[in-house]
Symmetry: C2
Subunit: 326 residues, 2 copies
Amino acid sequence: MGGDFGPRSIVQASLACLSATPSLHLTLVGQPSLLEELIHGQSAADRARLTIVAASEVITMDEKPAQALRGKPDSSMRVALERVRDGKAQACVSAGNTGALMALSRFVLKTLPGIDRPAMVAAIPTQKGFCQLLDLGANVDCTAEHLLQFAVMGSVAAQTLGIHRPRVALLNIGTEDIKGNQQVKLAATLLQAARGINYIGFIEGDGLYRGEADVVVCDGFVGNILLKSSEGLATMIAARIEALFKKNFASRVVGALALPLMKRLQADLAPARHNGASFLGLQGIVVKSHGSAGVQGFQSAIQRALIEIQENLPGRLHGRLEDLLS
Amino acid sequence: MGGDFGPRSIVQASLACLSATPSLHLTLVGQPSLLEELIHGQSAADRARLTIVAASEVITMDEKPAQALRGKPDSSMRVALERVRDGKAQACVSAGNTGALMALSRFVLKTLPGIDRPAMVAAIPTQKGFCQLLDLGANVDCTAEHLLQFAVMGSVAAQTLGIHRPRVALLNIGTEDIKGNQQVKLAATLLQAARGINYIGFIEGDGLYRGEADVVVCDGFVGNILLKSSEGLATMIAARIEALFKKNFASRVVGALALPLMKRLQADLAPARHNGASFLGLQGIVVKSHGSAGVQGFQSAIQRALIEIQENLPGRLHGRLEDLLS
């Protein structure tokens, strides 16, 4: 029921995913009459693998996490998470209120042993491919131990995406040992001592985009600001390019030719809007789609959940944590 | 003597500025024989307004601030700052080691009354013009009081650049009151109570690039990472655009037509590389040019110093601080 556009694009994305993946079963959680109506309007050859589960309440985009947690026992978000907890679903995908989703996920699913706080991770495009950036805003104040836990989780997540020995770096304002705040310096010491993590040291903001690491670790304040400012900058560049190409006839011609290229670039550059962000460290799979994601964005989020199910991400994470933090 | 390219481009930039500004007098501080040689190779109609002052030592780009402070009493950086302190120069412009320049500036020039720590500010391009972002890395851990001081300094700096009633915002991971870490929340309370500051509330990373504020305040860790990741992203986008345009004949034609537009865009998008960053809160004017700035970058830095002299930035800041913090 969440997201800036409500359930319409979610239903469309669900039907598209069902067509693309014959083994997929989806459950839509929300107000049945509304969902039925939306499905009715769509061509739905794969209706048989689509179930509707009723939930009478909806958490709004500006609701406070505490309110969502206490005030709405029958919200679509909570009911969906409870199905994961009860083994009726293998993953929960939502485009709703991020803070509420995180609070409810922790409450309903609980964290894995050894994890204090779940983190939010997304793939950021780089000059060489992608890097997994975490935390993206779930944890505002972090200790060095939290950063270590994020590094472990990010490393395992990157492995499930096919990267053999992920290069893990700590985001900092310089690459020398003396640079940074206390948490970052202490986290570096912890990571150097951690077994089985390919820790490559500090990385700066430009190094991230040069593709120098597969996993970049920071606290949620910094990660969120990096992500949102990158989205803002990419949007600004796209707008400027469009404006430049509208100036005169010659540049309009150039612009028309370049437009499809630009659109693809722009999509690549708003990562969290186009791919899902995963919650890591929970006893279950939760993928957050951007609130303003369209049909394609929500499809990517379902896709990411599918990979995490196939790769058994929480199980692998649990094993890795036992190994490392014992 | 600093910067990634050494004094060559600094000398060139100096001669270009002398030609452009007939009232300007410049002093080059460094190894006289080397500087004489570099000037000798250049057309220099305005030599009369160029003085060389000897300094026997050079602070390297990777030297630690403490080392620069204690170990090199006759460094070009220190001698230049001492000339500002002694009234022999009205501003110091350097492309050298940032940490060393900050430490030496504090030691030689001292901070203004009411300022604990100087901050580093630069103009960042936005969809609507520019915004002044501070701190950019001089202060890694900041209290709410420091953020308040940055807001005051940024506001006055924006005024000297011609903005009548600068909109001042605090960088945060959301715009609601409950968002953010303790320092940011407390700083918001302080700013709401501060007289004479046009405080508009929290701003997110994307709001910054949308041009929603004239001054954006954050701690140096966050500011530095925002700045460097923006530079990295802009470079990546430029590289991708170039690659797209090289794919086939049609796109090569498009690329050739679009190239000048792209170059200008790219320059706009590496702000600190192309404009100078000012140190605010000192009893004197210090402008830092990016280490890898070319001739044009260093010219912009000299230009920024000229504006700050004309507008008497430290004097205005001093008056404003007395007014506000008394």
